[in-house]
Every structure is written in C-alpha cells, then in structure tokens.
Symmetry: C2
DNA sequence: AGGTTGTGGAGTGTCGACAATCCATAAGTG
DNA sequence: CACTTATGGATTGTCGACACTCCACAACCT
C-alpha cells in the first residue's frame, strides 16, 4: 500500500527535530519575548539539567543563537544574552530602513503586483481597533515580511529576518503603553498606495519615515544593561 | 615585579585559541581559496582524524562556518560546502551594492574625511602595474573595507564582512585571466574624488556602477555545481 | 601595606563511546 | 515481476566524564 493518504491527519506529520534545535527555539523565544533579558548569563550545565539533556545540544543551541546575534560567548568565561546598547538599537533600525528601501526599489523595478499587502493593512486596523498590541505587532511583522518577499531576493529576505529578530527583542523590551496603535496601523496603507501608483520617491520616503519613527521611539528604555 | 616589559618579544604573546576556532579558520580559508569547492562533502569523522582532534570541535567549527553561510547541514545525512547558484552570486553583489551605497550616504552625511582611501588606490595601481592579481584583490578589499569603516556603523560593517566572505569565495573560483587589472584599479580614484567633492549622486552612481561591473563578470563560471 | 604566590570553585573545552537516522541494496513474498 | 520488508554501512546526534582556563580570594612573605 503506497498511497495510504487517508489517515486522520491529526497526529500524522511527525517531525524529528534535533534537540539542539528544540533547545535553540525555546531559548530564542525566551530572549525575543524578553523573559531572558540582555546581559543574562547562560550556564550550560544549569540549562542542561533544567531541560534534561546533555550539554552538547545546549552548546550547539547557544551557538545557533550566536549566529542569530542574540547571544555572545566569552571564551572560557561564559555566555550571555547579548547586551543591547542604544547605538545597536539605532543601527538595527537604520539597516532595516535600507533593507526595506531596497525591497521597494526592486518591487517597483520588477512591476510585481502588491495586492497581497492590503490584507495585512486590514489586520492591523482590526488589531488597532481592538486595542490588541500583540495582534498589531504580528500583523505589522507580516506586512513587512510580505513586502520583503515581494522583492524576490532570498539573501535580502534572510538578512531581513535575521535583523528582525533583534527588532522583535527590542519591541518586547519596550514599554507598550507609550505606543499609539492607531497611528502605526495608519502608516501602512499610504505605502501600499504609493506602490500601486508606482511612485518610487513617495514609497521610499514613506518607508523611511515609518522605520525612523519606530527607531526614534524610546530607545533609552532598554539601556539599563551592564 | 610587575613591569618586566623587557623580554625578548619573540615568543611573548601566547594565544590560547580554542580548537574549534583553529579548525574553523583552516576550513574557512580552504573554502575561500577554492581548495574546497562548493558541493564538497564535509565528513566529521574524516576531518577529525585528519586534523587529529575529536569530533566535538569539528562539529562546532562547521557550525561556525554555517553561520558564515559557507556550509550547509542536512540533518542525519551530511554537511557540505554550500553550492553557489548564479542567482546567489547575483544577489550577493546586489546586496553589496546596497551596503556600499549606504556607506557612501553616511560618509557624506557625517562629513568625515576620506583621505585614508588614497593609500589603497595607490596600492591598487602598484599591483595593477606589477600585474599582481592577489595584491590587487587584497588592496581592493582593503579599499572597500576602509570605505565601510568610515561609515561608522558596526552592524553594517559586520554584515558587509559576512557578505564579503562569499565574494572572496566567488573571486577565488573565477577565471583570473579574464580580469583587466588596470581597469579595476582605475575605477576607484574617481570614487574618492566624488567623496571629496561631496557629490553624493556621483559617488553613489560610481559605486553602483563599480559593483555591478564586478557582478556582471562571468558568473556562469561557477555554476557547474550539483 | 604592597606584592607575590597558592588554592578552590565555576564554567567552558575536549574526548571517546554509544544511539538514532537515513539510504541503498538485498532478500523475501504474493 | 511488482511490492514490501530486512539488513548493513555511513554519518550525524547525544551522552557522561575528564581536562583546561579563568578569576577571586586567601595565605604568605618582606
């Protein structure tokens, strides 16, 4: 029987995820959510015991997070969640701006349709109306992710994703109350409009303005490290 | 005696480099020099025996190279030097162009002096005159490295360095004979001139043109992989 | 005190052995 | 013959133990 395609698909797709990946995912989500703050020490033996695995997968997981730029190792001394300086935050956002502008340029050059972006704008409006911070954040990320994907540039996408990890972390460490959800949501439709109008200068100006506004938002909050 | 600063400085500064780093360095240079071609398999046990270390540092070294984007792992099957597609080559150069344009913008915005760049131009001219391919390549990299550093943006610098690894590899795989050393060397002084003139548009145009010329150069050579 | 030299603990670095997985190929089965 | 099921080799994944490095602090000289 080669085509037994009709199982109850509930528990069908078993995945065999190496421990290091599971560990890395859990640590990453802890860092991105802010539960593990910048500067926190990561002790292999402690983590190994806590997660009930040996040190090897812990080490490899930590190295994966190092690639993500979320953790740093000081040889023979220890590993810790990379501290976030105000400068790094600023640099992260300025690089993001360059990435998104590059994406806009490529989208307009290629003439690919941008209809897909409307969907995310609506999701953001709904989230803002419901005053749902998490939903708005998710929709915002989905919007920008879709924008980058439209640029059809794998390396740009990978670089953007890596950069966005840090943005995720930064946002989790911010004070939520100070954000104006309505305003963030309302930033995006004009960008889509400019893209549909094939107005490169306006689209780029809007994207730049948008990312700069986010960057300017209270970077001082997170620099109580070290 | 705290200040015994007068030893024969021959064998003074002992460094204690972890094995994984030594292994990673050797493998990296093998890849960047083209001795390990894209697609080559990397077998942990073989490397371990060959280098006379255990598999642990080999594994960690390979993971470091994975972060560099030079190696890829297929779980339970093997690791290999990441194959280079024509698309990847093109994407690498286009991202490099964006990085360098960003650097130019920042340099002109900040008003930092660019005198340091002349030195590298001269080195390139000398190398071109001597028909020394390696020296020209090194001087070219030094020029662009210096340019990025002038932008005073750590994250940009790190991203550029990572990207340049692949460029290093690509150049090593190209056919050297087809390059016109004189012309490459002559590309750079006008860029410095435009920077000194604070002519943003001209500087950006020149940098873009320069990196695009490099990108267009024979990318087909290296796609005999897989 | 000022300076040097042990010493112990915390943590990472390295090792060798064993388990799990995948793939190709062979062996069985109607 | 078409199809399934063993089997074995190659390679990665995981483990537990031991070695090394670093740092802080005490002990010791002068």
């Amino acid at each position: 029987m080669s085509n037994v395609t009709l199982l109850p698909d509930d528990i069908a797709p078993i995945e065999n995820v190496p421990l290091r990946v599971q560990v890395a995912n859990r640590l990453r989500s802890a860092i991105l959510s802010g539960r593990l703050r910048p500067g926190s020490g990561l002790v292999e033996t402690a983590l190994a015991e806590q997660m009930n695995v040996s040190r090897a997968p812990i080490r490899e997981a930590i190295q994966i997070l190092e690639n993500d730029g979320l953790v740093e190792t000081i040889a023979y001394k220890g590993k810790r969640v990379k501290p976030l300086t105000a400068r790094e935050v600023a640099e992260t956002y300025s690089l993001r701006e360059v990435f998104e502008v590059m994406a806009v340029r490529r989208i307009l050059d290629s003439g690919v349709p941008v209809d897909a972006l409307h969907e995310y704008c609506e999701a953001m409006n709904a989230a803002a109306a419901a005053d749902n911070y998490d939903a708005l954040t998710a929709a915002d990320e989905a919007f920008h992710h879709a924008l980058i994907r439209l640029a059809d540039h794998d390396l740009l996408l990978a670089s953007w994703k890596n950069l966005y990890l840090r943005i995720h972390q930064i946002m989790a460490l911010r004070n939520r109350d100070e954000r104006n959800l309505q305003q963030i949501a309302s930033n995006h439709p004009p960008i889509v409009k400019a893209l549909e109008d094939r107005d490169a200068d306006r689209a780029i100006a809007l994207i730049s303005e948008h990312t700069r506004a986010l960057a300017a938002f209270d970077p001082a909050t997170i620099v109580q490290d070290l």
